[in-house]
């Protein structure tokens, strides 16, 4: 009997060591980089993609006429140079030798095709309005593209960061359209992952990493576990701040933090009888303790905002009045606005507001905090957490009192036209709170026609002061960008707007600590 036990033990040990010896190598050990995105893109066609995940993949697979540097300035990509012959005529000179993934050379005809396809109403591109200023596209030779504009349009150049596709490419649903970016798509499994490999004909410096796998992992616990295990090597803003210390216990992981530009804000409905009074909006803002939220919910990885433009952005105005947390002053403002507390500090509120939010757990958490903070100023808040489609459609319809969302990827101060001009009420624009101020309308129209950046900066300084006085939205905080990556990865430049262009600069450096549990024999 004892012999049998010994034989069994020996056999088990042998089997266990065999399994350990054959343990599959992690992708990074075989030269493949694995990136996790917190969601799946709905499209990876540059003419149709609108969500952040789609845009981020396109930044790896497609080349644009111009790209943006970390300060938001246009820099050459497919266009080696450009010139404004007049405020309504912009000429791009394409670089020589840029090739699509299928080997064809990128010519002016491809650029024209891409933008004409977007502008063709029957293609229903969501980006059509972005290029509405274009009246004609001319291609005098294969390396020159001339854009004729209907009127001067300052944000034009920023809008040129759109992936160029080969002439003749139809929209192909989920199947990828070739680009001229540093990586080409080998396999796209919607809702699961996309496999990329190095594009050897890339016009820039050849990427050091041959293969990249982008996994779509919506669950934060799964991202966290895969990072710890080493089966994911790169997560930008996808790990809950509370989990960072636990993640960094793993000797193979490193964290980088950099300023961000995604601004979360509280939106007010200005058509609402209570919220149409600026004193009430100011009181709501003063009742919110952003410092505490930043310290506790975001663990310090965010900064209170004073504008929907981030402080590092060129058009951000200096010296904007900062709204401090002051519940006593909030109560005084509400008293003056005629909303007295019926029973002092008792349970009866001055009034009740409905706060709409999505079902995202983080959003619900923030809603619960705002609810509690406003309660202390005598404002009852009913939180409605709705399914995303219902939530967003209610917001667009103006069917809300309070809501919170985040502006992602603001590339030009022309956002003020889109979000606050009185004619930009949804579905055409994003003036969801129905703000209307003739002075602001005049400024944002002037801003989009003004070619001089210095003059635009001045215009948008006025706009930001006006908005911090009228408070149609209350900018809450700006999250910092947090990159968790394998310690061996180097070379990625984090931009404020979470741009993935720099994935091409990543390289895998020397070896590091052996993963836990694998000793040397």
């Amino acid at each position: 009997m004892r012999d049998a036990a010994r034989i069994f033990l020996a056999a088990s040990l042998l089997a266990a060591s065999a399994v350990a010896g054959c343990a599959p190598k992690l992708p990074i050990e075989e030269g493949t980089l694995v990136i996790a995105l917190p969601g799946a893109p709905t499209s990876i066609d540059p003419r149709l993609a609108t969500d952040a995940y789609g845009e981020q993949i396109l930044q790896i697979t497609h080349a644009f006429l111009v790209k943006r540097d970390t300060a938001g300035n246009p820099v050459p990509d497919l266009a080696e140079s450009w010139e404004e012959r007049s405020p309504t005529e912009i000429v791009f000179r394409l670089r020589k030798g840029a090739r699509f993934h299928d080997g064809r050379e990128v010519t002016s005809a491809d650029v024209r095709y891409t933008f004409e396809w977007i502008l063709d109403p029957k293609n229903r591109s969501p980006h059509r309005m972005t290029y509405d200023a274009i009246s004609r596209i001319e291609t005098p030779d294969p390396r020159t593209v001339v854009f004729q504009l209907k009127e001067p349009f300052a944000p034009f150049l920023v809008g040129m960061s759109r992936g160029i596709v080969p002439a003749g490419s139809g929209a192909r649903g989920y199947s990828p359209v070739p680009g001229a970016g540093p990586y080409k798509v080998d396999d796209f499994r919607p809702d699961e992952a996309i496999s990329l490999s190095r594009h050897d004909g890339y016009h820039g410096r050849t990427p050091a990493i041959a293969k990249v796998l982008v996994k779509f992992l919506p669950d934060s616990n799964v991202r966290f576990l895969e990072l710890k295990k080493g089966s994911v090597n790169f997560v930008l803003n996808g790990v809950d701040p509370d989990l960072l210390p636990a993640a960094l216990k793993n000797p193979n992981l490193a964290m980088e933090e950099a300023p961000g530009s995604n601004v979360s804000y509280l939106g007010f409905n200005l058509r609402d009888p209570i919220l149409s009074d600026v004193r009430v909006r100011r009181a709501v803002a003063m009742a919110i303790d952003r410092e505490t939220i930043v310290r506790t919910i975001w663990k310090g990885h965010a900064d209170p905002a004073d504008s929907i433009l981030a402080p590092g952005f060129w058009a951000h105005a200096e010296g904007l009045p900062r709204i401090r947390h002051d519940p006593a002053e909030a109560k005084r403002l509400l008293d003056r606005a005629g909303y007295r507390d019926p029973d002092g500090d008792g349970p009866k509120p001055r009034f009740t507001l409905t706060f709409k939010t999505s079902q995202n757990e983080l959003r619900r958490r923030i809603a619960a905090v705002l609810q509690e903070q406003l309660r202390q100023a005598g404002i009852a808040v009913e939180v409605q957490s709705l399914e995303w489609g219902t939530f967003f459609s209610d917001i667009k319809k103006g069917n809300f009192q309070l809501y919170s969302l985040t502006w992602v990827g603001i590339a030009d101060p022309d956002i003020y036209h889109y979000a606050f001009h009185s004619a930009q009420v949804p579905p055409d624009g994003a003036n969801r709170g129905r703000y209307a101020n003739p002075e602001l309308d005049r400024l944002v129209l002037a801003g989009r026609r003004e070619p001089s950046r210095a003059k635009r900066k001045e215009i948008y300084r006025k706009v930001q002061h006006l908005l911090s006085r009228d408070l149609p939205v209350f900018p809450l905080w700006i999250n910092r960008n947090l990159l968790l990556r394998d310690r061996r990865l180097a070379g990625f430049a984090i931009t404020p707007d979470e741009d993935y262009t720099s994935v091409k600069d990543l390289r895998i450096e020397g070896r590091t600590a052996a993963p836990a549990g694998k000793g040397t024999p």
């Binding site: 506790t296 809603a367 509690e372």
Partner: protein, 282 residues
């Protein structure tokens, strides 16, 4: 099966209490009902009072079960959450059973076109996947306790109706019903005094399991953000809130998870005990 009097009820009670699991289940449910009733008195803190700086703290002298991400006392939330679970469990069964009783009796006792109508309606409703329909309903109506009750009862009654119909059809053919009919009792009286009392056992057993199912369904809806509106401390919502911190503060999700498990198990044990005691065969 014969008509049962008080003596038989006593025998059932004795048999039920001899069933160890059932007795334990009964004790847990009794404690749960007491907690739900006295939650405001028993809770050491306001279940919604936040203390952001002590978010995710573990158990301590003042917070026996620790605190959630927003620093709310988990024990107080657990105690208050029992009210939601009990309300949904009992409420859903009460509503479903009432509708089921009416439909089932009408179908089983009168038969004919009434039966046909109700049973086809049941067939149609049973073709819907239950929890998906509940998700759709709460997504449309918005999250609230009332809407959860509506969503769960809308399909919940179908099972009871079919069960009651089958029971009534079986009992109404029995001899004592025949003799009551022969002695000239009006049909309504026969149904209420002779048929129903003899058809109840499986219905009582089924209702006990139904309470457990409703509690799990409410927790599921709240987990998805479709149950009661925040900040109400529904156990399902509490699990969802804690899910993100499983690796740094497992107690936040484990506490409500264990509460759901204990409650559902208690109701199921009672159901098992009742089934054995009443000698109900599936």
């Amino acid at each position: 099966m014969s008509e049962r009097g008080p003596a038989s009820r006593g025998r059932i009670a004795a048999r039920f209490l001899r069933h160890r699991g059932a007795a334990a289940g009964l004790a847990v449910v009794a404690a749960l009902l007491l907690v739900a009733l006295l939650a405001p008195l028993l809770s050491p803190f306001d279940p919604n009072a936040q203390d952001l700086d002590s978010g995710l703290s573990g158990a301590s002298a003042s917070h026996w079960l620790g605190q959630d991400k927003l620093g709310r006392d988990l024990l107080s939330r657990l105690l208050h959450g029992s009210r939601i679970s009990v309300s949904v469990g009992l409420g859903t069964v009460a509503v479903s059973l009432s509708i089921g009783l009416l439909a089932g009796c009408a179908s089983g006792f009168y038969g004919g076109r009434t039966d046909h109508l109700f049973m086809r309606l049941c067939d149609v409703l049973m073709a819907f996947p239950g929890i998906l329909l509940a998700i759709a309903i709460t997504a449309v109506l918005g999250p609230s306790l009332r809407n959860v009750l509506i969503a769960l009862s809308l399909l919940g009654w179908v099972g009871y109706a079919r069960l009651i119909r089958a029971q009534v059809m079986k009992v109404k053919e029995m001899e004592f019903v025949e003799s009551a009919r022969a002695s000239g009792s009006p049909p309504a009286r026969i149904l209420v005094s002779h048929v129903l009392p003899n058809a109840l056992s499986p219905i009582i057993v089924e209702s006990t399991f139904g309470i457990a199912r409703a509690i799990v369904a409410e927790a599921g809806l709240s987990f998805l953000g479709l149950g009661v509106a925040p900040p109400a401390p529904s156990w399902g919502a509490m699990i969802n809130e804690g899910r993100h911190f499983l690796f740094v503060a497992p107690h936040v999700a484990a506490v409500p998870g264990l509460a759901i498990m204990a409650t559902v198990m208690a109701f199921n044990l009672i159901g098992d005990g009742l089934r054995d005691a009443m000698d109900v065969r599936d």
